[in-house]
Symmetry: D2
Subunit: 338 residues, 4 copies
C-alpha cells in the first residue's frame, strides 16, 4: 500500500501515518521526493486492509493499493489451475464443457425433450432454472420445488449432471439435494448471506459475474466461497452493463485472458444472457472458446416461440447442434476438444 | 407495444403476430408503411408483458415497449405524492428529513455519542448498520443482533426513530422488531427473496438504487414491495457505477427530477456512499436538496480516523453541524425546511 | 416513428401532432388505446427526422424511433457485403486481412525492420502512425510529414500497402498522397469536419469506433463518409469505455455479429488498443477471428521496451509470428484463410 | 510512480527497472517486502512520464502513477483560483455567470428576440451556435459564417458578450474575430489539432468535458490549452455517458467539488445537453449552483416547437425568467449572487 502525502504535509502528519501502519503490524519505508513524501507500507496482508484507515488521516493526499483485495482466488496463492469435478464432469481440463438447456424448467415434457437433444449434440451438463429471479413481480417466477424434482428426474433419465440456480440463502441445502452444481446468479454475486451458505456446502458452484462488478470484485466474491472451504468454484462471465444498447449486456471477452492470468479458477461463458438475442449467440460462443474459455452455458429451448422465459435468446435444438459442430473445430484449433 | 416487421415480411408472418397478440387479449392496429409493416398492440397491461414473445416470431425486426414495465410505483397509477410515515417523522412532505449516523454500529458509546450529536444538529432519524454486507470476507461484518439491540436502546434514550439495513430475507421480522425503518442496500435491490419478505412486512423501507440499475429497473423493484402490500417505500439514490474514478460512485442528480415526474414515491439521497470521501459530501448534499430531494442519508462518526467501516466518507459531528446550517438556507430557498 | 400521447391528452393536442407530421410529408395512423392514444408516423425518411420536433409538442409523453438514424451504411439500403479494395488487398472477402506494425513511426530502421517482419509473418498491410493524437501535450506527437515519407518508402521497399491516421481535416490530401488507407481514430469518430473531408477523398478508410459511441452512432458517422461519395469504408472495433479497469478498454466482441446483421461494411478489430497489454492481445485476436471479423489491426514493435508510444501493448515480431500461426487455424475453422 | 515487481522477480529484473529510472533522471527507493519488491520512482515530472516504459520490462507486475498526468491545470502548480475575463464579465468570481441563448443561430429575428429576453432576465453572456457538429450528415449544420455575423450584430445591439463553438482548427482565427468566448465541444475535447490552435489564440475558451472522459483526462486536455499560453480556460461539465437511459447524459454533479479541489480553473455547468429535456433543466441548474458551480450554460429558444436543433431541451424565455428567480435565491444561500 502506498500513501502519498500532500505537498507540504508536516512531519507530525507523516509520523501519524507511520505509527498507524506500525500498529497494524506493517513495515514502513519512507520516500522523500522533491515535492512530497510517499510512504510505502509493506506486509503480506495489505490487500485485505482498508485503504480508508490511512486516507482519513490529515495530510494524506491519496492511498493506492498494490496488493489485490482478493487472496484465495488468486494465482499468487495457488499457481496451478483448479479442476472442478461435477459428478464425473471435469471443468478446467482439456475438454471444454458445454452446459445447455432451457432458461426455466417449464414441464416434464419440455425438460426431457431438450435434455435429450442437448446431450445428443454433445452437451455434458443440463441447465434449467427452478427458482427464477425476475425483474418484474408480475412475471413467471419458476416452478420452484417442483422444478427441482423434474431436474432430478432428468438427471437420472438422461444421465447427465444438472446445474440450477439458488437464490435464497436458506435454500442451499434443499437445492444441493437435487442438483449437481449450484449456480449463483449475476444479481446475487454480492449477496453475502448466500455466498456464505453456498461456501459452507460442498457442491460445485458456478459464480456468475455481477453485471456491473469489476473482475477484482468478482474474485473477492469468490474468496467468500473459498474462505468457507468450498474450493469447487467455476467463474462465469455473462456480460456487463455498458452504454451499448444493441445487446442486453456487453460480453467482456478480455475477462477470459485477464482471469487466466490472475486466478487459478476455471472460467466459462454464458453467451445467451449477454446477447439477449439468439442470432448473436453463435458468434459470441465461438469467440469465447477461441479466447480460452473452459466451458459455455447456453440456453436451448425446444420451441422458443412458446418459452415462458427468455425465448428470444434461446437456440432451438437444431441450431444448437449446428453450433456444436462449429465449436468442435474451434476447440481443436486451440488445442482442446468438446 | 410496437412490433416492427422486417422489410419484405410475408403476410403469414404478419398474421402470426396478430394472432399471438389476440391470444394475449390485446387490441391490434396494422400500419402498412411504404417499406415495412408496423403493428401496434394495445391494452392496459402491455407494460408487464414480455416483448420476447413477439420478438421471437419470424419476420419480426424489433419490438418496442411503450408502456413502462413498472406499474404500482408510477405516477400514472397514483398521481398524488406518497407520504411515508416513520414513527412520527413524515418523508415526502414539506420538511426535508435528514437521516444521519455511523456506517456501522460499533459500540454503545459510539452510537450514543453520534446519535445525540446528530439529533442536536437537527437530524430526525438515526442511521446505523448492524448487518454489514462487505465486499471482502475478511472485513468487519457488523455487530449483528447486538447491534440491533444497541439501536433500540439509542432510539429510546435519544428519542428519534432508527433506520438499519436488512440483508437476509429471513431476518426481516427480527430487524423489524428493533428498527423503525428497514433499509434494502444497493447490492440487494434485485434480491427478490428479500424484496418479497420486506414487502410482506408493514415497516417503512428505504430502497437504495442498485449501483448499476436504471431508474426503470429501480421502480420495477419498488413494484415488488408495493405488490406485496407495503406502500411505505422511500427511494434512495446513492450513486451509480460509471467510468469516472475520482469518486466511488457518480451521484445521478437528474434521477431526482426524473423520479418526481414518473413516480409518486418520496426520494432521498445518500451523498456519503456516492462520494466515498468526506470533503465531497457537503457539495453533493446541497445539490440534492436544491434539486428537490425529500431527504438525505449522511454518515457521521465521532472519530472517523478510528471508524471500523467507511471512515473516509464520514463527517465529524462538527462538520455535520456546519453542513446542517448550510442545508437549512438551501431548503428555504426551494420553499422547504429542515 | 411512434408518438405516445399522455393519458388524458386532448383531441387538439393529438391534432397538432397529426398536422406536424403531415407538414413533414409523413403518413399518419391513429391508435386509440384504452388509456392513451398512440400515433404511428409513416414514411421512408423517418430515421433522419429529429424525434424532438414531436416530443416538444404539448400532450406528448414520448417519441420512439423505429427506423435507424443511419441509412447508407445499413444493410436495408444495400444487402450485399461491401468489399474494400486497398491497392490490391481486398477487405471483406474470404481472406482475413492482417494489418500490423508499430504504433508510431519512429525511424527508418524501426519501420523497415518491423515492416519486413510482419510481411514475412503474413500481414498484408503495414500500419504506422505519423500524426499521433496524444492525451498529454508533453508526450511524443509523431514524426508527422517525415513519418509519412518513411511510410511511402516502406511501402515501396517492402511491397505492401500502408495505413496511417489523419487527424487534421486539412491534411487529408497530404496524407492520401503517401498512404494507401486513411485511418480515422477513435477520438475523431465524431469530428465532422474530418469526416466530411475524408468522405470527399477516394482513399479507403478505416473508421475506428469512438470509445464511448454506440454502434448506431458509429454507423451514422459512417454515413458522413458515404454521403460524400466515399464507399470504401472499413469499420474498426477497438474497445469501449466501461467501468472495468483491468484493461484499457473493453473490446465489444458482440459488435461483430451486430454489425454483420445491420451493415454491409467490412469489420476489423484492433485488439492492441483495447487490451493495452501485450499478453492479452492473442486471446482477443483469436476471439475476433472466431466471431467473424474480416481483419485485425495489431501493434508490433521490434523492441517494445524502447518504443516511444504504446510499447506495453505491442507484440514482438516473434510473438506476432507465433500468433499468426494460431490465427491461421482459427480462420480455417470458420471457413476462411489468412 | 510505484513499480510493483512480480513475486519471485530476479535481482537482474529489479536492476533493469532501477537503471531505466535513473536514465530518465528519476530518484529510486527500493522497498523489499516479504513477498515482493516495490520500487518507488521519485521526481517532479513523473506525472508526464508514460507508465508503459516500466510496465513493459520483464518481472514487472504493475506500475501505479502517483502524480497526476496534468500539471498546468492543477492546484498544486497554482493554488489561487483563476478568474477568466470575458469582455468585462468575470468567470470564477463571486458572481455566478449565466450564459444563455439558442442552441443554433437560426435567423436575425430569433437571435435578437432571445438575446434581449435572456439579457433582461439576467444572463450576462449570449450563447448561439454557428457551426453545428451533428451526429447525422442529413441534419441542419448551422448558418456558419452568416451565423457568426449575426452573433456579432447581437453583441453590439444587445450589449453582452457572445460565446460560440469552433469545430475546425483552421477556423479559430475566423471565429475569434466575431466571438468573445470560444467554445470547444464535448466531441472535440481530445481533438488535439483544435486544442493547439485555440491554445495559441488569446480568446477565453469554454472547454466542455468529453462525454466519456475522466476528470483527469479533461484536465490533461486543458493542459494543451495552457501549454500553448492561453490561460483563460473555463471548464464546462455537460453530462457523461452512462447506462441510464431516462436522460441524454448523466450530469456528473460531483465533478464540481472534485474540480474545485484539484484545479484552479473556473467550472460551469450545461444542464440542457445533459438532461436533453426541458422540464429536467431547472432542477439540475439549481443543483449545480448549490454544489458550487461558477456559472451555467442554458439553452433558451423563443419557440422551442419550431427550433431547428435541440428544441426539446430548450427553455422558453418565460421559463428561463422564472428559473433565474429561483437561481438567485440559491446563489444567495451559498454566499454568491447572479
Amino acid at each position: 500500500m502506498i500513501v502519498e502525502m500532500k505537498t507540504g504535509a508536516s512531519q507530525g502528519e507523516v509520523d501519524d501515518v507511520v505509527q498507524k501502519a506500525r500498529s497494524q503490524g506493517l513495515g514502513v519505508q519512507l520516500n522523500k521526493g522533491t515535492d512530497k513524501t510517499v510512504v510505502a507500507l509493506l506486509g503480506s496482508n495489505t490487500g485485505q486492509l482498508s485503504t480508508d484507515i490511512f486516507a482519513v488521516l490529515p495530510g494524506v493526499e491519496s492511498v493506492t493499493r498494490i496488493m489485490k483485495p482478493y487472496k484465495l482466488a488468486s494465482r499468487e496463492v495457488k499457481s496451478q489451475d483448479t479442476l472442478v469435478s461435477c459428478s464425473g464432469v471435469e471443468v478446467g481440463a482439456e475438454r471444454i464443457v458445454i452446459m445447455a438447456g432451457p432458461c426455466a424448467v417449464e414441464s416434464k415434457e419440455q425438460l426431457m425433450e431438450v435434455g435429450a437433444a442437448v446431450k445428443k449434440a454433445g452437451a455434458s451438463v443440463l441447465r434449467g432454472g427452478a427458482f427464477k429471479p425476475r425483474t418484474s413481480p408480475f412475471s413467471f417466477q419458476g416452478l420452484q420445488k417442483a422444478g427441482l424434482e423434474l431436474l432430478a428426474q432428468a438427471r437420472e433419465q438422461i444421465g447427465i449432471p444438472v446445474v440450477t440456480e439458488v437464490v435464497d440463502p436458506h435454500d442451499v441445502e434443499l437445492v444441493s439435494g437435487y442438483a449437481d452444481i449450484l449456480q449463483i446468479g449475476s444479481r446475487n454475486m454480492q449477496n453475502y448471506a448466500l455466498l456464505t451458505n453456498v461456501g459452507k456446502s460442498r457442491s460445485p458452484v458456478v459464480l456468475k459475474r455481477g453485471f456491473a462488478c469489476t473482475i477484482t470484485e468478482w474474485l473477492t466474491a469468490a474468496d467468500y466461497l473459498l474462505a468457507e472451504g468450498n474450493d469447487q468454484v467455476i467463474l462465469c462471465e455473462r456480460g456487463i452493463r455498458t452504454f451499448e444498447d444493441s445487446v442486453r449486456f456487453s460480453l467482456d471477452i478480455s475477462a477470459i485472458p485477464v482471469l487466466k492470468r490472475s486466478s487459478h479458477l476455471p472460467v466459462i461463458v454464458d453467451p445467451s444472457h449477454a446477447a439477449g438475442y439468439y442470432s448473436l449467440v453463435p458468434a459470441i460462443a465461438k469467440a469465447a472458446v477461441a479466447a480460452g474459455a473452459d466451458g459455455l452455458l447456453i440456453e436451448v429451448h425446444p420451441n422458443p416461440k412458446e418459452a415462458l422465459v427468455d425465448g428470444l435468446q434461446s437456440l432451438t435444438p437444431s441450431d444448437f447442434t449446428r453450433l456444436m459442430e462449429e465449436l468442435r473445430t474451434i476447440a481443436k484449433s486451440v488445442g482442446r476438444y468438446i
